[in-house]
Amino acid sequence: MSDTLLDIAGLNVRFGDVAAVSDVSISVMRGEAVGIVGESGSGKSAAMLAALRLHPADTAIEAARHMLGGQDVRRAPERAMRDLRGRFAAMIFQDPLTALNPLLTVGEQIGEVLVRHRGFGKRAAKAEAMELLGQVGIADAAARIGKYPHEFSGGMRQRVMIASALAGDPALLIADEPTTALDVTVQAELARLIARLQRERQMGLIWVTHDLALMAGIVDRVVVMYAGRIVEMAPVESLYRAPLHPYTVALLESLPRLNTPRGRILAGAPPRVDRTLTGCAFAPRCASRMAQCSETPPLFSRGETHAACWALA
């Protein structure tokens, strides 16, 4: 199998008139961690659901290239997709309170994946599920395995979600804002846990977030999205040290620092994507806009950084 786990080019996702994702290209290699940053509604979650072809029925997706685990997702039958999901690529969702089936015990939910994808028998699945619970830091797994999700705290439930995502031993893990719904103290702990598991298992990781600070220590590469488009792609150090796109600059400036207690606030709001946007979507909020911004900018390269801004032309 090749080392490129996910390879998407020119992805478009549309709900009716809304262009949630436009012309997005993302690839992830084995052992590589990619961060996707953006505000709510920037299309990052929609792109990730589309990557596994889990988008809602009323959504149209198209892509120039869409390979997942050697399968062409655009043409693969649903059966093949079901075999990939959980086995080759698994997903962790934002809200652990709603993403677990309230009517199955955590052991059953983890075991389900083991039985489905890895040919475990019922009893072996239970033993393996306990092992997985231990790996994600749930103490006393033997006592917890027969419990229902409501008997767990938010952070614990997210650990259960991670265990069930790992159960299929996936090559690619997509974490869709896995810490957003949790307490700040728990966030860092879980971020470290996911980062460690990714290194140990040499998985590809896509870390979707709007938390730039938390992401910095986890990912190798960052993709910044705005209004459904990629505005900047860069190795993580270059992005933090020398961001090129004005949106990325504003995003980094908005982070609180030790010497400036409050980050600078970016004025304005992201555009509505329900009408056909022309030109750079960030232009209305951009301090350095120019005449050319009424046309959609392509990605310009400066070394390893790519940014969609006419200032770089």
């Binding site: 959980g86 969702f93 993403a99 489905r116």
Partner: protein, 282 residues
């Protein structure tokens, strides 16, 4: 101002009352051979049209009086409960199986599956049901199985509508998406994720549907398309008593009360269950 003491029974009290009513009927149905003082078909022409025991002309051996051929009304009501309950439960159960399955599929799959099943529901609701039932039973003949089948034709719609709407909202829930994201297949998704979540509603609709089926069955018996003319049923007793309303009020009144109390019991239990089992109600 004068304070008026009002008795406003709570849902738990009413639920228990309903359970008590249903429990009594169930007991009578099960224990009919022991409890009933006479066989329901025993004719005694010398004792015909006896009024209830507490009337001057009454006989203590026939507590609720006798009918036009001297059969004991109380015994016939006790035996008749067997028909009412079994038909009501069977029709409700059959309707639940068919209706829930269709509703689940309609809600989960959406698209043309949903359109086809919704169309069936609309057609069923648009039909004047009693007329349709009489027609079917007249063509295919009466009997337990045909009557249950025809009644299930009325009850499945209740299940299908409720289950469909719940399945539609469940389908969009995170835990269903999460299950799909690890490759859980559709049959398992329906069985292990959606069905348990809609089960409480099915139970609630089931108790209301049983009440509806009992009532409709009585109506059909009253109209002469019953289960079996040799077994007494409450509806058929009502029909017979209708001819004697002027001279023997008890012939129609007591079966009527039996129907009313049983249906009331099932509805009270249904109300209570819907309060108990609705997660939003807690």
């Amino acid at each position: 101002m004068k304070r008026v003491a009002t008795f406003r029974p709570g849902p738990v009290f009413l639920g228990r009352l309903g359970a008590l009513l249903l429990g009594c009927v169930l007991f009578l149905a099960v224990a009919a051979p022991v409890v009933a003082p006479f066989r329901p078909t025993d004719i005694n022409l010398r004792q015909r049209l006896l009024p209830p025991a507490w009337e001057a002309a009454g006989n203590t051996r026939h507590l609720l009086g006798t009918d036009n051929v001297g059969r004991d009304i109380a015994s016939r009501i006790i035996w008749g409960s067997r028909i009412s309950l079994s038909v009501g439960l069977a029709a409700s159960l059959l309707g639940a199986c068919v209706g829930s399955t269709l509703g689940l599929c309609a809600g989960f799959f959406g698209g043309w599956t949903d359109r086809a099943i919704s169309w069936l529901i609309d057609v069923q609701l648009a039909f004047p049901f009693t007329l349709f039932a009489i027609f079917l039973l007249a063509v295919f003949g009466g009997g337990f199985v045909p009557v249950v089948a025809v009644l299930a034709l009325a009850t499945w719609v209740n299940f299908a509508r409720v289950v469909r709407s719940q399945a539609m909202s469940l389908r969009a829930q995170d835990f269903v998406l999460a299950a799909r994201s690890v490759g859980v297949g559709t049959p398992r998704l329906l069985r292990r994720y959606l069905l348990p979540a809609v089960l409480p509603s099915i139970v609630v609709v089931g108790s209301f549907s049983a009440a509806q089926a009992i009532m409709t069955q009585a109506a059909l018996s009253f109209l002469g398309v019953g289960v079996d003319p040799t077994i007494p049923s409450w509806g058929a007793m009502l029909d017979l008593g209708r001819n004697y309303l002027q001279t023997a009020w008890w012939m129609a009144t007591f079966p009527g009360i039996a129907i009313a109390l049983t249906v009331l019991g099932a509805n009270l239990v249904g109300d209570w269950l819907s309060l108990r089992l609705d997660p939003r109600g807690r």
